[in-house]
């Protein structure tokens, strides 16, 4: 595949750079090294990987991190070119990982852990939690219960087609709740982060977003209030699962055991995500804050119908 002399020179120069980089990086023994696919953001995943490698001499984690859409595309491409390249997948919501289980890609093993059964199945274990909370711009009355959100001014909701956390909320609330919001003038934006940005900036008065994103903005000084309206913030757990075709099963199990252990959960909590082990400290959460859980099993089968009904409300 020649591309002219100049092109060839560039091409071979790049190839050399890449080969050098590749050789330099492969000092660890291959048996101890795993590939991890995740959509958890760098703030959380980097400290977890660093701590794991530091406390497990010889272990090496090759990381691919991307937003859910790209992660799905990567997995789908892997399947079509000889199989999943990851040994472990750490997803951001149960639906995505359940889909992988249904395709026979991951699952079949979970470690011994104290993590509650509510965020576990025989195929995966929830290791980090997202909470859908309400945020209001300063000066706007915070909703005491979710239905109050409709009267909080101009409201923004995240798109359940883009963010599984938003889909979890849709699963919990049902379409009537959104129809009422829409009647009161609510709009749908992209991701929960878009909601946080929009409310902080004043484009909207209130919205639904994830707690990490809201508290992070608040701590920096954005003029917003975070509330956990009744009956509760909607909890979405991010599960970890082992590949069914991994060639490094021992190393993969070792990593999963670590992130589900008290030690691993503590690192996750310090890194800014909510651990699923109940008594491990995580980011800010009011004492006794009410929490509700969507019925993920029901959601798996109702997803398509639910999104179709939802599209009639905020449809494009």
């Amino acid at each position: 595949m020649a591309k002219g002399r100049r092109g060839t020179i560039w091409f071979s120069a790049l190839l050399q750079v890449w080969l050098l980089a590749a050789c330099g990086g492969s000092s660890a023994s291959p048996a101890q090294s795993i590939t991890l696919y995740t959509c958890v953001n760098d703030t959380t995943i980097q400290p977890v990987v660093t701590q794991y490698q530091a406390t497990h001499p010889g272990a090496k984690v090759a990381l691919f991190r991307a937003p859910t859409g790209q992660l799905n595309a990567r997995v789908a491409s892997d399947i079509r070119t000889g199989g999943l390249k990851a040994d472990v997948i750490w997803g951001c919501d149960p639906l995505t990982v359940q889909d992988y289980v249904a395709q026979g890609l991951v699952g079949g093993w979970t470690p011994e852990t104290e993590i509650p059964a509510t965020v576990r199945t025989p195929d995966y274990v929830g290791i980090a939690m997202l909470y859908i909370v309400a945020i209001t711009r300063k000066g706007v009355k915070a909703p005491a219960s979710w239905p109050d959100l409709a009267s909080a001014g101009k409201v923004a909701v995240p798109d359940p087609n883009l963010a599984a956390s938003a889909l979890g909320a849709l699963g919990f609330f049902g379409t009537k709740f959104y129809a009422n919001l829409k009647e009161h003038g609510a709009v749908q934006v992209g991701t929960p982060d878009d909601v946080t940005t929009g409310v902080a900036q004043g484009t909207y008065d209130a919205g639904m977003t994830i707690a990490n994103s809201a508290y992070a903005a608040q701590q920096k000084g954005s003029p917003i209030t975070v509330s956990w309206p009744k009956p509760g913030a909607v909890a979405i757990y991010g599960p970890v699962a082992i590949s069914k075709t991994t060639k490094n099963a021992e190393a993969a199990k070792d990593f999963i055991s670590y992130v589900t252990s008290r030690e691993g959960q503590t690192v996750i909590g310090r890194a800014g995500s909510y651990p699923t082990l109940p008594d491990v400290a995580g980011p800010e959460k009011p004492n006794g804050a009410p929490i509700v859980y969507p019925d993920w099993n029901a959601l798996t089968s109702q997803k398509a119908a639910l999104l179709e009904d939802y599209a009639k409300i905020f449809g494009s």
Binding site: K3, F11, A13, V75, L95, D193, T203, S213, K220, S316
Partner: protein, 550 residues
């Protein structure tokens, strides 16, 4: 000495070979996936209630953006021809500003500038409430396309062969409007048509702006549907639907571009040597004042305020607090400038340099093949990867070459080449279309080999076009994120991937800091080179304003 025919044959096989690797194989992979796994579901995809409106919205967006961007770009290119225009060098550089801002922050910068509680609302109590909706999407996508139109028209003008025709008309008593209507615009027709095709295709594939600005008004396009399908694409259906929709974009592009290419067919063949456009008659002082004010206003609205909004976000500690000195911070920049990003930055610069340089060769070859049948096929083919959303193009490359190239910088480079080839090709072809053949012919008759003839006769005339093509590709590759974030592996992270992975597109301050940093990476060396050029060291630089349309 090989004959012209042999050279042409070699160029054609190189172009077709590259098109096979960069376009045909990835597309074939996508078609196969879509057909094998989804042909029985095609009816479902098409009959889905949101599908019709997405198609209509995509068409509306492309049509509106083309109708807005092309006249504005042409007008700016013509206005900036006047060498007496005050601050001409500055205007010519400033017009290109939108190219520096990645798509994914463009929409944000406009919202921050003009939406409710935005900059204009803080300063003057004025907000543009319709910005979040179809009109806002049209305007922002169009404004972002204006620099490309400007470049294509400006290089068309720079390679001009007939300024004398216009002067003759003026001398014979024709008014400026008559000259414009009867001489300038008709002679520019190929460049204008080229620009229109580029804008139409680019807008059809635009994703980030419709997603951020259009979504709140329920303005979904084919590209936003593709993204939603991928986000829910952990089940095979969503994945296959995304690919099928992307292929639909390709079909639509084929339907639009093929006739356009055929209509563009009759290239202007001029017998005379090109003359330098130095003696273009200046306009009247009044016109100059009006043009200056219009340029200043346009740039203030389309680049000045949005960029100011971005800059203020990058130095402000939190979103929603006033950007006053006691709220200023360098934290966002510190988050961007870590050892990891340093390594990624050098990799990104190297990748962008490699991509732009290879694309210069590929773009020139495609343009040189011109309107031969082979050339026309290549130019249509490479337009198809321009319209493919980055995510689906990356999937095609990953399925096509992932077995051998996954996780390497080579596959990222292939993605840049595939995506940007058309952007390199179009400005060069707009210039080539206006290139007189007499000089080349004379050189060949006098015994010069084709390469010598090209280097001594054609390249100097094409220099503005080559610099424009190189610059556009370099800038776009430097801040590319969609494809890189799907294709990277350990050790091949690009700058945008590292920065956005930590911010997940939500950390607006960090993202804004990234844009400012990228701008600095580009502007500082360019300014230095320009200063060097000004102090007498004659060195052409892609970014010295004079070089864009020498």
């Amino acid at each position: 000495m090989p004959s012209s025919r042999a050279w042409l044959g070699a160029a054609l096989s190189l172009a077709l070979g590259s098109a096979a690797v960069l376009v045909v194989i990835p597309l074939a992979v996508l078609i196969k996936t879509s057909w094998v796994e989804g042909h029985d579901r095609l009816a479902d995809v098409v009959s889905n209630p949101g599908f019709g409106s997405a198609v209509v919205h995509s068409f509306e967006l492309s049509a509106a953006a083309t109708l807005l961007a092309v006249p504005v770009g042409v007008a700016i290119a013509l206005a900036l021809r006047d060498r007496q225009l005050p601050g001409r060098a500055f205007w010519r550089a400033a017009v290109l500003l939108p190219l520096l801002v990645p798509d994914f922050v463009l929409g944000y910068s406009w919202l921050r500038a003009y939406a409710r509680a935005g900059l204009t609302s803080e300063l003057f109590g004025l907000a543009w409430m319709q910005i979040q909706g179809p009109v806002g999407v049209w305007v922002i996508v169009a404004v972002n396309a204006v620099p490309l139109v400007y470049l294509i028209i400006a290089v068309g003008l720079a390679t001009r062969a007939e300024p004398t025709t216009e002067r003759a008309a003026r001398a014979s008593g024709a008014g400026p409007a008559t000259v414009l209507r009867t001489i300038t615009l008709p002679l520019l027709a190929p460049a204008i048509a080229t620009a229109a095709v580029v804008v139409f295709v680019l807008s059809m594939g635009a994703f980030a702006v419709p997603q951020l600005v259009g979504a709140p008004a329920g303005f979904g396009t084919i590209t936003t549907r593709i993204y939603a399908d991928l986000a829910l694409g952990s089940d095979p259906q969503g994945f296959v639907e995304a690919i099928t929709l992307a292929l639909l974009l390709v079909v639509v592009t084929l339907i639009i571009v093929t006739p356009a290419e055929t209509l563009l067919g009759g290239r202007l063949q001029l017998g005379r040597m090109a003359a330098r456009d130095t003696d273009w008659p200046s306009s009247s002082p009044t016109t100059r004042v009006i043009v200056t004010i219009a340029m200043a206003l346009y740039l203030m609205i389309t680049s000045g305020l949005p960029l100011l909004a971005l800059l203020s976000a990058s130095v402000t500690r939190a979103i929603g607090v006033p950007s006053t000195p006691d709220n200023w911070t360098l934290d966002n920049f510190l988050a961007v400038l870590t050892p990891r990003t340093g390594e990624a930055l050098s990799r990104s610069v190297l990748l962008a340099l490699a991509a732009a340089s290879i694309l210069l060769v590929l773009g020139t070859i495609a343009a040189a093949l011109g309107r031969t049948r082979g050339g026309r096929s290549v130019s249509i083919l490479i337009t198809l990867t321009l319209v493919l959303p980055g995510s689906t193009l990356a999937i095609g490359l990953l399925i096509g070459y992932g077995r051998w190239l996954a996780d390497t910088v080579v596959i990222i480079l292939l993605a840049y080449l595939a995506k940007l080839w058309a952007l390199a090709h179009r400005p060069i072809s707009a210039a080539v279309d206006r290139l007189p053949s007499a000089g080349l012919h004379a050189a060949r008759v006098s015994g010069a080999g084709l390469p010598t003839a090209l280097v001594t006769v054609v390249v100097p005339l094409l220099r503005p076009a080559l610099l424009a093509a190189w610059g556009v590709c370099f800038l776009t590759a430097l801040h590319e994120v969609t494809m890189s974030s799907l294709l990277y592996g350990p050790g091949s992270e690009t700058l945008a991937v590292v920065v956005l992975n930590s911010a997940d597109l939500g950390g607006v301050g960090v993202t804004a800091a990234l844009s400012v940093l990228i701008t600095a990476v580009v502007v500082l060396p360019a300014a230095a080179l320009w200063a060097l050029g000004r102090t007498g060291v004659r060195r052409p630089s892609a970014f010295s304003p004079g070089a864009w349309s020498a």
